[in-house]
């Protein structure tokens, strides 16, 4: 590597206290083939411009903080290597389909509300005491929902989804996949309760099955598949006329 090599990052800037509209600011950063886009952004913040604002923590693709648009694609910036863009410039923007708080930081409140709406926790009528030991769950039963439990809430799928940006009622890929994860868990008996939420308005029906959510997921979750399966379950529930008593399980 030539130590003098550099790359240009063009970064979206917007500060609600001082800017009437967003702008792009170019920064020249040293090119290091081991660096990810996040390293370059941190280098700018440390050495050039302390006001540049972004979220990050684990830098190993599991905390879900550092999702941004990199050259128009939703990416975890801790997993997007400079070498994959070199020698061309990189344009960094906040995730689309979210309101911008400042620079690369988006407003997560709506997303957090949607996660809560799907009741993402075990619901049971009969709760065992811990002294009775664990609920048994075979590896095959675990496999029924395991992939849907891998979501890191990075919200890339909302940025990729053509519906999430303009249909507020739509719960969106990550929240629906999470609801589905609990519906498919053999320990859970809350499917009917959860489907009530999913069936309402455009909550699930907003999905037009473009499938981009699954394509961009950095953890190989298949929200599109979850949504299709959940739609089928919801439809079944619908045709039963909601006569199934709550809590009878999957």
């Amino acid at each position: 590597m030539d130590a003098k090599d550099t790359m240009t990052l063009e970064i979206f800037r917007y500060h609600p206290e001082t800017d009437s509209e967003p702008r792009f600011q170019p920064y020249e950063v040293p090119y290091n083939e081991d660096w990810v886009v996040l390293d370059a952004i941190n280098w700018i913040k440390d050495h050039v411009d302390g006001s540049l604002t972004h979220r990050w923590s684990c830098r190993m693709g599991v905390c879900g903080s550092c999702g941004m648009m990199v050259n128009g694609e939703p990416k975890l910036t801790c997993a997007a290597f400079l070498k994959d863009y070199y020698p061309f410039g990189i344009k960094v923007e906040p995730l689309v389909n979210f309101a911008v708080e400042r620079d690369l930081v988006v407003d997560m409140d709506g997303f957090m509300d949607k996660l809560q709406e799907v009741k993402p926790y075990i619901i049971r009528d009969d709760v065992n005491d811990t002294s009775e030991g664990e609920y048994r769950q075979s590896p095959a039963q675990l496999a029924q929902y395991k992939q849907y439990s891998m979501c890191i809430n990075c919200m890339l799928c909302y940025a990729a989804c053509p519906v999430a940006g303009h249909e507020d009622e739509f719960l969106g890929p990550a929240a629906l996949a999470l609801g589905h994860r609990y519906n498919k868990d053999s320990r859970d008996q809350g499917q009917a309760e959860r489907l009530d939420v999913m069936l309402a308005g455009e909550a699930i029906w907003g999905c037009t099955f473009v499938g981009e959510c699954t394509v961009v997921c950095p953890k190989h979750v298949d929200p599109a598949g979850a949504i299709q399966q959940a739609k089928a379950m919801a439809a079944q529930e619908f045709f039963k006329g909601f006569v199934m008593p709550k809590g009878t399980g999957a």
Partner: protein, 599 residues
């Protein structure tokens, strides 16, 4: 920093990681009329618990006993753990882990549907529960999602707590916190407070710890007058990826991975860790031996191999090889898929076909806020749990897979006792506490916004010097000279910190301000680490002195307590004895025949 609003609850929890969430649920469930505030500088699912990989220990299998878990923990701690606390921890571990299973944690399973376990370092019998190799991630998300069930848990996401609020009677009654979205300083008040802010690995340059692990809670407690205990004990995990410091889990050795030097030789056999079995031997990997020795010893062996010239030089420094190839693709993908993903992404190698380059990396702070086994500090109404706290069950070296369980056991314990305190001491003076919060806002404004822009230094300058000082002075091997140098540099940095210059003087989401505040926390933690290390003139567990190479139970079978001095002078170091119940200090042996001797 404009003055914000006042918010009143029953119990305030600072930190939304594993311990904070477990404490929140404990209170919300047992006290439905209570309002619980969970104040976190990040959204809870971003907390560093999320990165823990290998697993969480609890003795549930018929071939295991509680006594074995206790002995492994105490001997692993080089006898610096309080044995009453360890006994409580080990007894509570199984019900807590089952509770998390009932809350939906996707534990890996045996064919009969029971929870599967794997061996970890320093364990005589396998007892580590795991969710493939994303155990912390699944635990954190299961806990977070479970909190969503309780309407009486009120989250203050992205609120950076900077000061504990103490009432006229000396009781802790809340915190001042900056709401990142607006920059306002809020007074968040309650009848008791639990700190669950995690560790301080970011004191060092090469660490598995995420950016957020800056010891903020330790610093707040230290400045409020609580001692930081056993801060000289810093855990280096033996297998981090060079360059990034990303962790390659101990589970990779629990599943049978081996460590070799530049000659392909399993060098651990040269350091009193037993004899290697061939990887094809069905008894491999032997527990409490070789690659399944404790982390402190394995990291020390690396340094000795390096001194002997038998490590491998790379552009990211010296490494050894962690070889998993004999496990085969199917086992790697089933049991440690994240290891493969990380090695491919960040080291450019596929462990199915190539060994992984690894080197020791700062991973965990055994020390922390001095608490008793009820999770109580010396300030009435103030509790702490998780990595920020030091009970101590971890002593001079924590066993892998005890920390995740500790979050649950002592998170619940802190919740129970903080709730009880809140019930017994309901009244406090709101306006006096509001005044403290206003003062705190003014302090932050003076320190970082009113300072002249000329002459001050950048955050990165000070942080880089701190990193160098701590790595050189308080690393795996230390001596008086290196620790004195670290103490001197930290003192110098503290003076220069008072004149820090930040570019950003605006209010909304000012992450340069939070980085400046975090640097202050790091300096406090570093001060306690370096001074406690200097005073402890013995070698024990992770604290290895080249000038005092033996363990000295006569003088140092004791916890160090570092007290902050408000006048800025060096911390006062005191000692308190370790609680020994049934396991008198003995030789710490690994390899064949190690472990608890049965009568």
């Amino acid at each position: 920093m404009s003055h914000g609003t006042t918010h009143e609850h029953d119990v305030i929890i600072i930190g939304g990681g594993g311990a904070g969430l477990r404490a929140s649920i404990a209170i919300a469930q047992e006290n439905p009329s209570f309002s619980v505030a969970c104040v976190s500088k990040v959204y809870p699912m971003r907390s560093h618990t999320v990165t823990a990989e290998g697993g969480a220990a609890a003795s549930i299998k018929p071939n295991d006993t509680l006594e074995d878990h206790i002995y492994d923990t105490i001997s692993g701690a080089d006898w610096l753990a309080d044995q009453d606390a360890v006994e409580y921890f080990v007894h509570q571990a199984p019900p807590e882990m089952v509770q998390l299973e009932h809350w939906g944690c996707p534990w890996s399973r045996e064919p009969d549907g029971s929870v599967a376990v794997r061996p970890f370092g320093g364990m005589k019998i396998e007892r580590t529960w795991f969710a493939a190799d994303k155990t912390g991630f699944h635990m954190l998300h299961s806990l977070f999602q479970t909190t969503l069930k309780y309407g009486n848990i009120v989250r203050y996401d992205e609120h950076f707590a900077t000061r504990l609020l103490i009432d006229d009677d000396g009781r802790c009654r809340g915190c001042a916190a900056i709401e990142l979205h607006t920059g306002r300083v809020k007074a968040i008040l309650g009848k008791s407070v639990i700190i669950c802010t995690g560790g301080a690995g970011r004191v060092f340059p090469f660490t598995t710890n995420g950016a957020i692990k800056t010891g903020d809670g330790m610093s707040m407690a230290y400045r409020a007058g609580v001692a930081l205990k056993d801060m000289e004990f810093i855990q280096y995990h033996p297998t981090g990826l060079p360059g990034t410091g990303i962790l390659i889990t101990e589970a990779s050795r629990g599943e049978g991975g081996i460590l070799v030097n530049k000659d392909g030789y399993r060098y651990l056999q040269d350091y009193d860790l037993g004899q290697p079995l061939d990887v094809s031997d069905p008894r491999h990997p032997l527990k409490r031996a070789m690659e399944l020795g404790p982390r402190d010893k394995l990291s020390q062996c690396f340094i000795k191999e390096r001194w002997a010239g038998r490590t491998i030089e790379t552009r990211d420094g010296h490494v050894v090889h962690l070889d998993l190839r004999h496990l085969g693709e199917a086992k790697i993908d089933k049991r440690i898929p994240f290891v493969r993903e990380l090695a491919r992404s960040y080291a450019g190698i596929d462990p199915v076909h190539q060994p992984i380059p690894v080197r020791p990396v700062v991973h965990y702070v055994m020390g922390g806020i001095d608490v008793d086994s009820n999770s109580a500090t010396t300030i009435p109404g103030l509790y702490a749990a998780g990595e920020c706290a030091c009970v101590s069950i971890n002593g001079a070296n924590r066993l892998g897979s005890n920390s995740l369980t500790e979050l649950l056991v002592f998170g619940a314990q802190a919740g129970k006792h903080a709730a009880r305190f809140a019930m017994d001491h309901p009244d406090y003076n709101v306006s006096a506490l509001e005044t403290q919060a206003e003062d705190e806002g003014a302090r932050v404004r003076r320190a970082f916004f009113d300072a002249p822009r000329k002459g001050g230094e950048r955050i990165v300058t000070l942080r880089t010097e701190l990193h160098e000082a701590m790595e050189n002075g308080a690393g795996i091997y230390r001596d008086a000279e290196s620790l004195e140098a670290a103490c001197a540099t930290v003192a110098d940095l503290q003076e220069r910190y008072a004149k820090l210059n930040i570019d950003d003087r605006t209010h909304s989401f000012n992450t340069e301000l939070t980085a400046a505040l975090e640097l202050g926390s790091l300096l406090d933690c570093a001060e306690a680490m370096a001074h406690s290390g200097l005073q402890r003139t013995e070698s024990r567990g992770s604290h290895q002195r080249l000038d005092h190479t033996e363990r000295n139970d006569e003088e140092f079978l004791a916890h160090s307590l570092a007290f902050h001095q408000p006048d800025g002078s060096v911390p006062r170091i005191e000692y308190k004895p370790v609680t020994i119940t049934k396991w008198p200090p003995g030789a710490r042996t690994y390899g064949a025949g190690s472990g608890l001797k049965r009568e």
